[in-house]
């Protein structure tokens, strides 16, 4: 008898809340759901912004201390201190993502909820930022790290 294969499970930890770092966990999670894989995302620290209703429409790209910007548009730190440079980079990234038909972050999060992905706000971070369950996208839950690790048992874990 062939060994019974465990169904695949994906657990993603999203720890960053800048626009460029919000997309990777969302895209991975969405890919998981599209392939029928059980998917959980644990939003911790700045990552909480991705599911915070008041914030996830306005995530920004940081230009200072970001060595990975496009060579053509690379903004040296000394220029980055000029007001609106971050806004310009954010605008540019939003435009490029829209060209590829990627939804804005808030819409992407809603798609994930509808697809049956599980979204969790890290309890420690929620307390630290003095937030409540109502502050998060409908369908998300507040979860402690021990409970998350119980869910993550046997899963593939990705830290972003």
């Amino acid at each position: 008898m062939a060994e019974q294969k465990q169904p695949r499970k994906l657990c993603i930890i999203a720890s960053k809340g800048s626009l460029d770092m919000a997309y990777p966990p969302l895209i991975l999670a969405n890919g998981g759901r599209m392939s029928g894989i059980e998917t959980h995302i644990f939003f911790t620290f700045w990552g909480l912004d991705i599911i915070t209703k008041k914030k996830n429409k306005g995530l920004n790209v940081a230009v200072i201390g970001n060595p990975n910007m496009h060579p053509m548009f690379h903004i040296p730190s000394i220029i980055g201190v000029i007001p609106f440079m971050s806004a310009a980079a954010t605008w540019m990234m939003n435009r490029e993502m829209a060209k590829l038909d990627f939804p804005p972050v808030d819409e992407f999060v809603q798609t994930l909820v509808d697809s049956g992905a599980h979204l969790y706000a890290c309890k420690q971070s929620v307390d630290m930022f003095k937030l409540k369950l109502e502050d998060f996208v409908d369908g998300s839950k507040i979860l402690g790290v021990m409970e998350f690790l119980e869910i993550a048992e046997g899963a593939q874990i990705i830290f972003v």
């Binding site: 599209m34 029928g36 038909d101 798609t111 509808d114 697809s115 049956g116």
Partner: protein, 101 residues
């Protein structure tokens, strides 16, 4: 049902090798093989997939399905519990989608 699929070529993962060999009977048979019972709502998705393939040569992204038909994300996942990204293309006789959405 098995007779319908006997003449159709599949790759190792169960996607049809030749999209032009697809017809509605083949779709029904693939669905049975994958444990699906096709309804009118499945056909809305399948027809959109076929139309997109005719126009672009590729399976549509799920985002395109939900934008251009009245099937929304929640329903799409209910229709294809094994993962609509793979299942919709499979039943529509198309190759595994390469898009990320």
């Amino acid at each position: 049902m098995a007779d319908v699929l006997a003449t159709v070529k599949f790759d190792a993962e169960g996607y049809m090798e030749d999209a032009s060999a697809w017809n509605e009977k083949v779709a029904e048979a693939i669905a049975v093989r994958e444990g699906l019972k096709l309804t009118d709502r499945h056909w809305v998705v399948i027809k959109y997939c076929r139309d997109t393939f005719t126009k672009t040569g590729e399976a549509p992204t799920l985002r395109n399905i939900t934008k251009n038909t009245d099937v929304q994300t929640k329903e799409l996942y209910e229709l294809f519990p094994g993962g609509p990204g793979k299942m919709a293309a499979k039943v529509s006789g198309l190759k595994k989608p390469t898009g990320c959405l």
